[in-house]
């Protein structure tokens, strides 16, 4: 510490701070091109002061995002206090929005916000129709909450999978939150599937804006997903790819009550069908699990698929009551 005190003292904290917030604003709200990124990297790496200012603002801004999430009750174990917080926050936002409304002559902001929770059990499916004509379909073992206010429409996907067909309305953006990740529709049809660790988003039509978990370097820039784009994010990886629309449509077979497999390893097919049934399909060994299967099967009936593997591959199928074991 003693040697650095000889260094000339720089009194430019506010300038550095301004540059840092300009960069943060540009990255979060602007069109973030490859050139922007390079320019930013140069700035970020060129001085420790730049780095620190940016890291500080980035994490602080992230904290304000968490606060807005308090608008909704979150975990059931802290429902009362969260509700309390939410009420407080609502009063605050109402006050703020009132100022905004008066300022811009928009009064409809103040309408009441209504919230609901929807869950489906194993093998169930539920279709929600929103007043604006939008539609949400919940797949098996899914839990989501909705909040529709005049300022916007928000859905929290807590677990499971849902299909969204959204009537776009720029004045009332439709936002889906899955953990730290955020999707905003830009007129669209898409699916979101959230397992314990993994999030998958597939866009069938229109555009969706994806904002990743800001605490992770590889997800920091928002992406615009177009029809056919698929995002898979896990705790350790993140990828965007394109899938043929036919493939995506097949993945939506559940909406018609079927599962459609095409060159799908038997182990994966078993995992899929097990989402919908209490009676589980168990594949006895990994070699059997690697066998590829194709076809359309009813999602709520394990027997159709076991009959197929018995005939196609000559496998042994043993019904043990709560599970069906497939082996050689």
């Amino acid at each position: 510490m003693s040697d650095v005190s000889e260094r000339p003292f720089l009194s430019n904290a506010s300038e550095v701070d301004e540059a840092a917030s300009d960069w943060l604003e540009r990255r979060n709200f602007g069109s973030w091109t490859e050139e922007d990124r390079r320019e930013f990297d140069d700035w970020f790496e060129s001085s420790l002061a730049h780095r620190i200012a940016f890291v500080r603002l980035e994490s602080g801004w992230k904290r304000t995002e968490r606060l807005t999430a308090l608008q909704s009750p979150t975990r059931s174990d802290s429902r009362l206090s969260t509700q309390d917080l939410w009420l407080k926050f609502f009063r605050l936002t109402a006050a703020v929005l009132f100022v905004a409304a008066v300022g811009s002559g928009v009064a409809f902001y103040l309408a009441k916000r209504t919230q609901s929770t929807y869950t489906t059990g194993t093998g169930e499916r539920e279709v929600l129709s929103l007043a604006d004509g939008s539609q949400i379909e919940l797949n098996t073992e899914t839990s989501l909450r909705t909040a529709v206010a005049s300022g916007g429409r928000t859905v929290w996907l807590d677990k499971g999978e849902a299909y969204f067909r959204i009537k776009h309305d720029a004045a009332h953006p439709f936002v889906v939150l899955a953990g730290e990740r955020r999707l905003t529709d830009i007129g669209t049809e898409f699916t979101v599937r959230r397992d314990s660790e993994r999030l998958k988003v597939a866009v069938l039509a229109g555009n969706v804006r994806f904002e990743g978990d800001n605490s992770r370097r590889d997800e920091q820039k928002p992406a615009i997903l177009k029809s056919g784009d698929t995002i898979v994010a896990t705790a350790t990886s993140f990828s965007i790819s394109r899938e043929p629309l036919k493939q995506l449509a097949n993945e939506l077979g559940w909406r018609r009550g079927v599962l459609i497999f095409n060159q799908t390893p038997l182990s994966e097919a078993a995992d899929e069908i097990n989402r919908y049934n209490r009676k589980k399909l168990v594949i006895a060994d990994s070699a059997v699990g690697r066998l590829k299967i194709g076809g359309t099967f009813p999602k709520n009936n394990v027997n159709a698929i076991t009959a197929a593997v018995r005939e196609l591959f000559g496998l042994r199928v043993e019904d043990r009551g709560d599970e069906i074991v497939v082996s050689r």
Binding site: R7, D17, F29, R51, S81
Partner: protein, 197 residues
Amino acid sequence: MIERLDSDREKAARTSEAAVTALEVDVWFVREILPLESALMEYLQHNWRNRSDIYDFRQEIYIRLYETALKKIPDRPKQFLFAIARNFLINRVRHEQIVPIEAVADLEALEVAADAPTADRALLARDELRHLQAALDRLSPRCREAVVLARIDGLSRSEIAVRMGVAESAVSKYLSTGIRKLVEVFYGEPKTVRRKA
């Protein structure tokens, strides 16, 4: 010294005998140091007469903190941060040839700040809401409107520009300023709510 360390974070990690990457320091800084910022600011305000200096002081203290942490992440962040702050102030006093009595006499403040209790999470969250409210209240009306539209309504920059009837460049300015001021209140200012027995 700074130039060497941050010219290339990968290189910094590889060349120094103790390999700590700048990214690891970032994470540590956000987790351990930023929550102490309001205590640090209180400490600086308490011990330095000229308030306008303390933002530059903070920057300088953080830089020194990073420089050391890049070699080895300190085990006791609080003690470490306030030791740097204290040394920094003492050097400044020497440098300026002026001696504000408190700066030298009030060294116990270090211990007081370092031992401040950590509130439980729920209470902290509640304080944060009041904090956000205070911060929002202090923004200019246009700036506040842009922040609310971006943060709470999730609108894009161009959508905000249409809604507010201003150019996108103006929205950028509002948002940039809003980010800076909100974060300053969040991290930099002492929590207004006191829980004392």
